[in-house]
Symmetry: C2
Subunit: 454 residues, 2 copies
């Protein structure tokens, strides 16, 4: 039996950050991190293995080095059992660990819809964060000309764009009427879809999959409309499920959707057991509903909270709920989203006003690399509190999305945004007289005045 003060199960974003943060706050405690693979993938970098990067080798997250550098013991093994009463963990290799505090960061697994005929055929891929699987997938895709990507979320869009870079013929299929519809309202998803088309991706929306056909391997995809798409490979990007079997079996509480139940400090109801990342329960900052947000950035924030609160609660999770803040790029066009869309607000019956501003991300616009910039802000109709924002622009769209994220976290109102100070520069941002967040806020402010009959 080995003893460790803190045992972390899982070595991706949440586990790694929980270990590093915890060790930094409690340097006198011993920390052990158990992960399944020696080499871990940068989660968000995975699509880029298939186009921009040369191999999985260029997408390795240096977890072992970081653990070693910071005094955390890193072990490659698989946890087979948690005994929460005796605070003991057993592994596949037969090791037994006694812990004082346990952090479960077992992540998520890609959905492979068993109900769909053909989902198990060779050359039908899902996207796990697993180097060995991905290496094999890279190798098999070399001989595939026609690739069908099913599900137009961020991962589907990123894979599609990377595949065309490598010369594949790519069709992206989405059941909903618009691509990226959880992230963007239609005014923004339409130009993003146009961009994807201009890059050579064929896009089919509002059309689900009936069946994946093939004998030895996949040969085509049958759509609900009856259309049949020839395919040498199919990529299923239809979401992820929390990997919580281990916790559930151990009697650690898991909710109806399979997420491990946690509080504001990432504590499970089981004493001394924390959970963080994709496997941990999340509640939306705005709607207060349970949500299935799975983002490496969210996982890191949760890992940090868990790490800080291991031996005593001393940092409250100020966000008090998950804000989905994420971004991506197609070529030199970046786009991002924070909080909830106007469509989502409608579904939740939240009264909102929105403002959409289109400008340019340099000033004067004659400067090289100037890019069109669109920002949509969504505010609560009566309080003016900012609850969402969507951005399309140049490559600074990622950090601009973070500006909106921070405004949401600080519960800023339209008026406080109007009275905000921002910094601008010709080569880096929009003009101060046309800074898109402020302009979008002005549009909302005008609507508020109109509503109030001012």
């Amino acid at each position: 039996m080995k003893f460790t003060d803190v045992l972390i199960i899982g070595g991706s974003a949440a586990g790694m950050v929980a270990a590093l943060t915890g060790k930094s706050v409690w340097p006198e405690k011993s920390f052990t991190l158990i992960k399944k693979r020696k080499e871990m993938m940068v989660p968000c970098g995975i699509p880029y293995i298939f186009g921009t990067l040369n191999s999985t080798e260029e997408n390795i997250m240096p977890v072992d080095q970081m653990m070693e550098k910071n005094g955390v013991t890193s072990v490659v093994d698989t946890v087979s059992k948690i005994d929460k009463e005796n605070k003991i963990v057993e592994t596949a290799q037969g090791d037994v660990y006694q812990y004082d505090k346990l952090v479960i960061a077992t992540g998520s697994n890609p959905v492979r819809p068993r109900w769909m005929k053909g989902a198990d055929l060779p050359n039908v891929f899902v996207i796990p964060k697993d180097k060995i699987y991905l290496d094999e997938m890279v190798s098999k895709l070399r001989d595939c000309k026609r690739v069908v990507v099913i599900g137009a979320g961020f991962i589907g869009v990123e894979f599609s764009d990377e595949f065309v870079k490598k010369g594949h013929e790519v069709t992206l299929v989405e059941k909903l009427p618009n691509i990226l519809s959880l992230a963007f309202d239609e005014e923004l998803s339409t130009p993003i879809q146009d961009l994807l088309l201009s890059r050579g991706v064929k896009v089919i929306t509002g059309n689900g999959i009936s069946e994946i056909k093939g004998t030895m391997k996949v040969s085509s995809v049958l759509l609900e409309s009856g259309e049949e798409l020839p395919a040498d490979a199919v990529i299923l990007t239809m979401g992820y499920q929390p990997n919580s079997e281990l916790a559930k079996t151990a009697g650690i509480m898991v909710d109806d959707n399979g997420f491990i139940v946690v509080d504001e400090y990432m504590r499970t109801p089981t004493p001394d057991v924390f959970a963080a990342g994709d496997c941990a329960q999340k509640r939306d900052f705005i709607t207060r509903r349970r949500v299935q947000t799975m983002l490496a950035s969210t996982a890191c924030a949760e890992g940090r909270i868990a790490g800080m609160n291991l031996f005593n609660v001393h940092v409250v999770k100020t966000f008090s709920g998950t804000i989905a803040i994420y971004s991506t790029a197609i070529g030199n066009i970046g786009f991002g989203t924070a909080g909830i869309t106007e469509a989502r607000a409608g579904e939740e019956n939240i009264a909102v006003l929105s403002g959409l501003f289109e400008g340019i991300d340099r000033h004067p616009g004659k400067l090289p690399d100037a890019s069109r910039q669109m920002v949509k802000l969504i505010a609560a109709k009566y309080s003016g509190v900012i609850i969402g924002g969507e951005v399309i622009g140049g490559l600074s769209a990622g950090e601009l999305t973070n500006v909106i994220g921070l405004a949401i976290q600080n519960r800023m109102t339209v008026n406080s945004l109007l009275a905000s100070q921002i910094g601008t520069h010709p080569c880096l941002t929009a003009s101060p007289a046309a800074y898109p967040l402020i302009k979008a806020a002005e549009i909302i402010a005008a609507k508020i005045r109109k509503n109030q009959g001012v």
Copy 2:
């Protein structure tokens, strides 16, 4: 006599935004903007006329079009007198305007140090926001090989880099020990200086100017050290003075430094008279001292506040003080600053802790265009409130600086930053596990724990 509900004097950033915002909030009121020139320059774009852009024509701010589009009367004229008792303004062309509300946005003028011998010689230039002057300067500089830029603030650094692009031999001279020392602590100003050197700019620091020599025109610059630099042209970027003579003559209160006195709503003590932009008084958000910050972005924020509060005070300037937030770029390296530096905090006897993090602005780092990224955060030692931040990175450094700016405005603490949610993407930002603001905050948090003996 002409009547206008609102008269705005000045058509640069503050005046333009005050007019647009005011007209938007009070569409039933008549607005007139008087500006000296038909064609106005994008203020921050001026350095780029001398390298990246082809002429001043590419740096025009479309003020007339924006005024016309929004129903504001735009007049090219110079105000010669304000009669605050009768609420009348007279112009150089002999027009007389009766106003209800007046906004003074007369900006600033570059300092030309009369005490310095030779400061008036031909080919010794300052940088006014004046197209005619700048056109002549562009023309004269064509024949100048050796250019000496005096004053290594943002404008001096930007001009130096633009001049080398055009093939000039450039020497940048700064009296203080470091370049950009109002904006950056030495850990960051040193790599920026190295970058400038690598671009071919010669940099001399800790050395003032004794005299500018020449007969028909400038021939050399004599440094305090005795060194003499041959020069075909000299650019003085030694700061700006508020242009407040008109207000002062009219009996509108001006402070010891020449700034028009204003309150939180940009109202002067004279009834119905507002001031905004470079000519208006500013108080630092952190130090609470009067400061001479002159930024187009600050001017726009002030113009917006003035415009919103013209006929009744309804939006409080939430920032309650000026936060200098600004950024620039040298080639593909962007850098920016928000709030106060550690050095400035020291001068003001503010107890602080700082954290400096160095990382990379993409993840994995193998992605193309990855750039080194440095972030320094400065926090109040006992409360942990963030009071300053400095950034060097790729071109998203401008918006990253705005993230810090928003953190300062919301008086976020190190702990609230640690518990913040951010969005990340391989092609747009640093890794979520190494997001520079969070990592810098962690370094400060560790210092706080150490101080508290935790």
